[in-house]
């Protein structure tokens, strides 16, 4: 038994409405507990004047799976300036926009994050994703399995889309891949691309299956609701990056018909066609729709200027973007006709009108949205920029004068006309704590993470108050993972193995016959090897804890 007390910190725990209250925090055996003031403890840290939050949770960050590894292979130059650490605990690992698994764990943990979720795990490549995340130290992790471009689902929908059949198939897929949820990427579009369609609007039929993205989105959202999976359908909407795509985004919200949905990297989906460049901010229209639809949550996918690589399951979009790559090289792939990926290196430039406006749109979404519980802070790492830029992003959101300084450096037309200039709002520490911990935990259904209440996992970040919020959030004084001190003043001091989050929705096993029949005819992978067993997951996850989130939080169990 080991106990720990953080004495005198200012707590920001939005899940309990605690907004900067000075309060001691007790920990016993990796869990937060109520300790009597005079109770002796094994370790005590005086954190008076410091800010105490739950560990950060990134619900959308590409940290594992085939495309992440392909991105590393595509950009060996990203690994050249190897930081030569003098920390014997850190094994050799480097990379900025394509960090190695070890560097991913170290860099997240040292800025106070304790969990990250891979949003685009290919069903047939789930083992790889889990292994790579298992190799990522300190962080807890999980992944969303990609559905909605797999031939089997499209076939089912083409046959009329019996909801029970779709539900059982989705339930099987989540269990087989040991996923935390489902992501749909460019619904139906990636498949349509293989039938020579180069775009697919929300109500445009797939030429082969005669199914529309609207049907795909609705069918998946319904299945997840019936399976009572806590994380709503994770939606990468149609027409990513295309001017005027706000229409598709609003139509996608409409397709949900009130069912829960999480629109991811919405910055890339909030573009209008106004102005001299026929490219404008539709942040206001997006935010109004989100405000009006309590069933919808978002993460932003803020862009950050500099070199990165776009890593996406959206092959259709990435083939279009390949010509814009910098440096000009790219990779595309498809696996088993159920999912694929495209990797295009990209350099966001502040003197580019389009990039400058993308930067503005992301910030406008953050600052205009009125319910932070439905807005999650992301850069869609590495698509908008590496996750290591979060402290910078937080400062942009919390510091109007800093934001104005950056805005003034952008492409002059954007700097002069952006609506962002008139937005005075500065996010508070309480709101930042919601967007980076409390909201993602709630959206994932993690009852014992993202807050500091009794019984929660003792994932805790302690920051030394500093007017420069970037510095403050980059270098927390203490970071605890399950009660263990893992980082001290930006230096890793322990590297425990993280756990794997997943859900196990019930489904009717009869569906396996159909899946097996399909796999036998069309897949290279034997159906008998499709599902990842618990023991195998444990091996993949490097012996880390298996963290099952129950599937009955928002409704009745699907079985």
């Amino acid at each position: 038994m080991s106990t720990l007390r953080l004495r005198g910190g200012r707590l920001y725990d939005p899940a309990h409405g605690i907004d900067g209250e000075v309060c001691d925090l007790g920990v016993r055996d990796g869990r937060i507990v109520a300790l009597h003031e005079n109770e002796p403890v094994d370790r005590e840290h005086d954190v008076s004047g410091m800010i105490v939050m739950a560990g950060g949770i990134d619900l959308h960050s590409h940290i594992g799976g085939g495309k992440v590894n392909l991105a590393r292979l595509l950009l060996p130059e990203d690994h050249r300036p190897a930081p030569r650490t003098d920390n014997p605990l850190e094994l050799a690992s480097c990379g900025a926009c394509t960090p190695g698994t070890l560097a991913t764990g170290y860099r997240y943990a040292e800025m106070g994050y304790t969990a990250a979720f891979e949003p685009a795990m290919a069903l047939s490549n789930a083992r790889h994703a889990h292994m790579e995340m298992g190799d990522t130290p300190i962080l807890d992790h999980g992944a969303y399995v990609m559905l909605g471009n797999d031939e089997l689902l499209l076939e089912m929908l083409a046959e009329g889309g019996d909801p029970a059949l779709v539900r059982d198939y989705v339930g099987w897929a989540i269990n087989a891949a040991r996923a935390m949820g489902v992501k749909v990427v460019n619904p139906g579009g990636i498949s349509a691309f293989k039938f020579n369609q180069r775009k697919l609007d929300v109500d445009e039929p797939h030429v082969q299956h005669r199914v529309t993205p609207r049907q795909v989105v609705h069918a998946l959202a319904r299945a997840l609701t019936e399976l009572a999976v806590p994380h709503p359908l994770h939606i990468h909407a149609s027409n990513l990056g295309v001017a005027g795509n706000i229409a598709s985004t609003l139509a996608t919200i409409d397709a949900l018909e009130g069912l829960r949905g999480h629109l991811t990297h919405v910055q890339f989906h909030s573009y209008g066609t106004e102005g001299p460049h026929k490219f404008s901010s539709a942040a206001l229209a997006l935010v109004e729709a989100v405000n009006a639809h309590p069933n919808v949550s978002i993460d932003v996918g803020q862009i950050i200027f500099g070199q990165t690589v776009t890593a996406s399951g959206d092959t259709m979009t990435q083939i279009r973007n390949a010509a814009l790559g910098s440096p000009r090289k790219w990779v595309g792939a498809d696996i088993e006709c159920d999912a694929g990926c495209g990797l295009v290196p990209f350099r966001y430039r502040d003197q580019s009108y389009v990039n400058a406006l993308q930067w503005v749109i992301g910030l406008e979404i953050f600052l205009l949205a009125n319910d932070p519980w439905r807005v999650v802070l992301t850069t869609d790492h590495p698509n908008g920029g590496p996750f290591t830029s979060y402290p910078h992003l937080i400062r942009l959101l919390m510091d109007k004068s800093f934001r104005d300084e950056q805005l003034a450096r952008l492409h002059p037309e954007v700097a002069a006309h952006a609506a962002l200039r008139e937005i005075r709002r500065e996010l508070t520490l309480y709101e930042i704590a919601i967007m980076t911990r409390a909201a993602p935990a709630r959206l994932l259904g993690l009852a014992d993470r993202g807050h500091l209440g009794v019984g929660a996992a003792a994932d805790i970040a302690v920051y030394r108050e500093d007017a420069d919020r970037e510095y403050m959030f980059r270098t927390p004084e203490y970071v605890f993972k399950d009660g263990e001190l893992v980082a001290r003043q930006g230096r890793i001091v322990a590297t425990p193995v993280g756990g794997t989050h997943f859900v196990e929705p019930g489904f009717d096993g009869a569906i396996e016959q159909r899946i097996a029949r399909y796999a036998e005819h069309h897949h290279a992978l034997d159906f008998r090897n499709a599902a990842i067993g618990r023991d195998e997951l444990c091996t993949c996850a490097n012996g880390g804890q298996l963290l099952v989130t129950p599937c009955a939080v928002h409704g009745t169990n699907g079985t």
């Binding site: 595509l74 950009l75 060996p76 130059e77 990203d78 050249r80 030569r84 440096p327 000009r328 090289k329």
Partner: protein, 275 residues
């Protein structure tokens, strides 16, 4: 230059146990230092930092131009003259990998062999290797889009595979033989080969000139004879290449056939095959 120039003689004390990274040890960087100071310059040996003086006996004497003269077997020393801007480095034995990689100016002369990636991404200056070079000489570092883009590389021995892969400017000579994929993905520049080459020479080359002074390679199907009258340009080029000596001396006396390719890509490159 304000500081007086100096020649440093660096005699290797003993073969180091691990590989040593010589990046930063350049004539200009040492030039302003005294003998003892130069001995304290930190370099990487395996995973640890080491003083230059621990590996070399260092002697300094004033000179008109900055230079480093290394004595000993430097085959475990990588990144000799890395990104060097100016000055002269001479090595009386072999060197490790990345010799004169990203060189921008000055002269580097190696009396023995050089390892992999010699003169890769070199932009100016000259590397002369009396022995042979490993794979990817005059090519690109992994991930980079461009190989050598200026300067002169002279290899008096043989070259490994992928010689001048993605090279886009400059001149390179190989007196001996070259490995597979000689001048693959060449974008521009001139390369003269004195011996024979391995499989797939000029694979996917877009522009640039290859002169095969030694054994005539089999011409792939994606290269076509152009039948141009080359007398004027060949007179100029051959005379220029002949100055390198060795197998290139007799080039001006030979007649030449020209092939264009690789037509699987841009097809604007040329092979000059002297008869």
């Amino acid at each position: 230059m304000s500081a007086p120039a100096a020649v440093f003689e660096l005699r290797l004390r003993a073969l180091p146990r691990f590989r040593v990274d010589l990046a930063g040890v350049t004539p200009l960087a040492l030039g302003a230092l005294g003998e003892a100071e130069a001995g304290r310059v930190a370099i990487r040996h395996g995973n640890e930092a080491l003083a230059l003086g621990e590996l070399f006996e260092i002697r300094r004497r004033p000179a008109n131009a900055p230079a480093l003269h290394f004595e000993g077997d430097l085959s475990r020393f990588d990144r000799l003259a890395w990104e060097m801007e100016d000055g002269e480095i001479r090595v009386d034995g072999p060197v490790g990998h990345y010799a004169a990689a990203r060189l921008r100016g000055g002269l580097v002369a190696v009396a023995g062999d050089a390892g992999g990636f010699a003169a890769c991404e070199m932009a100016g200056g000259e590397l002369a290797v009396a022995g042979s070079v490993g794979d990817f000489a005059a090519a690109a570092l992994p991930g980079s889009m461009d190989g050598m883009r200026g300067g002169t590389l002279v290899v008096r021995g043989d070259a490994g595979a992928r010689f001048a892969d993605r090279m886009r400017r400059g001149t390179a000579f190989v007196f001996g033989n070259a490995g597979d994929f000689f001048a693959s993905r060449l974008v521009a520049g001139t390369i003269a080969l004195g011996g024979r080459c391995g499989a797939h020479p000029g694979w996917a080359m877009r522009r640039g000139t290859l002169v095969f002074a030694g054994e005539t390679p089999a011409v792939p199907a994606t290269f076509v004879e152009t039948g141009h009258d080359l007398r004027v340009i060949w007179t100029l080029l051959a005379r220029d290449l002949a100055r390198a000596g060795g197998p290139f001396t007799a080039l001006p006396d030979r007649r030449v056939r020209r092939f264009a390719g690789d037509i699987a890509v841009d097809g604007k490159g040329e092979w000059l095959l002297p008869e």
